[in-house]
């Protein structure tokens, strides 16, 4: 979506935080998924990594402020920086998301 009005005005913003195991960290869940692919007769799929996705709504004075809150939450709580990487994704302003529904 284009952040447009949401970028300058305050409001409620919907974010997703995607947490994945860092490269080099053994991911036994990813291995288990990969091992099952043969049973589905699927070939050519490699490097499966299983992570988690957390979606949340932040009410703040601006998009930048909301993003700063999400960044802090992601690094302190949602991901363990020793073993996990994260990417923050803005899904949109809540009002816009609801209007588009």
């Amino acid at each position: 979506m284009s952040s447009g009005a949401a970028a300058t005005n305050g409001g409620a913003f919907r974010f997703a935080v995607n947490v994945t195991p860092k490269p080099g960290i053994l991911d036994p869940q990813g291995r288990a998924v990969e091992a099952s692919l043969g049973h589905l007769d699927v070939h050519g799929v490699t490097d499966v990594r299983v992570g988690r996705r957390v979606e949340l709504t932040v009410t703040a004075g601006s998009e930048a402020e909301a993003r700063a809150t999400v960044d802090r939450l992601a690094s302190e709580l949602l991901a363990n920086p020793l073993i996990e990487a994260y990417a923050v994704e803005l899904l949109g302003g809540v009002a816009q998301l609801e209007a588009a529904r």
């Binding site: 960290i25 053994l26 036994p28 869940q29 288990a32 709580l77 949602l78 363990n80 020793l82 073993i83």
Partner: protein, 244 residues
């Protein structure tokens, strides 16, 4: 009598065993509720095993932010003795009070079985009663017990003498195989120390090996070490041995 606190989180399930083990070791053991920041004048704190806050998000992470943990962190920074067992180790690691992280077991399964561990350091508040090269038999019961730190950190931990316990075979040798190190911990690490040597985490359960009727009382060597060290602190004697 030396008073030692055992923190009770919602989902702790080894708190009573730990209270009893500490009492057998000669302490006055008191429960510390997770919502209460006051540590009740204890001279050591144990974070017991279990599934604090349901292990939601990551084992130990929600517990890290509880009121009692803020006090435990301050207590530890002040040189207070803190021992984290299993889930308690996960809480300490998430809180950054001991180095590293506990990952999902290599084989993905929850493991409940006896293992043997050997103390690498005998001059710490947690191992002073443990005989040299003596394999301690006690159970593990965890889904996330695979010790992880990056290679550089692992080498630093070894160089600084901060590997407290390693998984071993019955002859006190670290073989590194899946039989003796079933969760796949890097370098067979079962327990670590913080830099100051007053905070320790270990995955196996000494409190579940605290009476002969349980199949082993080897865990008492660790609990007695802690109680003796805490008693000295109460008496104003130094109990913290810096990591060499």
């Amino acid at each position: 009598m030396t008073r030692i606190g055992v923190v009770v989180f919602p989902g702790s399930n080894c708190d009573r065993d730990t209270l009893r083990g500490l009492e057998l070791a000669g302490a006055e053991a008191v429960a510390l509720w997770h919502e209460v920041a006051d540590l009740d004048g204890v001279s050591a704190v144990v974070l017991p095993g279990g599934f604090a806050y349901g292990d939601y998000l990551r084992a130990g992470v929600i517990a890290r932010f509880s009121p009692v943990m803020r006090s435990v962190a301050a207590f530890a920074a002040d040189g207070g003795l803190v021992l984290g067992i299993c889930n308690g180790f996960q809480v300490l690691a998430e809180a950054g009070l001991v180095p590293g992280a506990l990952l999902r077991n290599r084989g993905l399964r929850f493991l409940g079985r006896d293992v043997r561990i050997v103390a690498e350091r005998l001059d710490t508040p947690f191992t002073r009663e443990v005989p040299d090269r003596h394999p301690l038999r006690m159970p593990i019961a965890h889904g996330e017990g695979c010790y992880y730190a990056d290679e550089e950190s692992l080498s630093a931990l070894e160089a600084e003498g901060r590997v407290l316990f390693r998984y071993a075979d019955g002859h006190a040798a670290w073989t590194g195989d899946a039989e003796s190190n079933p969760n796949g911990s890097l370098r067979g690490i079962a327990g670590v120390l913080n830099a100051a040597g007053n905070v320790a985490g270990l995955m196996p359960h000494p409190e579940r090996a605290s009476e002969a009727i349980l199949g082993s009382d080897d865990g008492m060597l660790i609990l007695r070490s802690l109680v003796a060290s805490a008693a000295e602190r109460t008496a104003g004697m130094p109990a913290v041995v810096g990591a060499s």
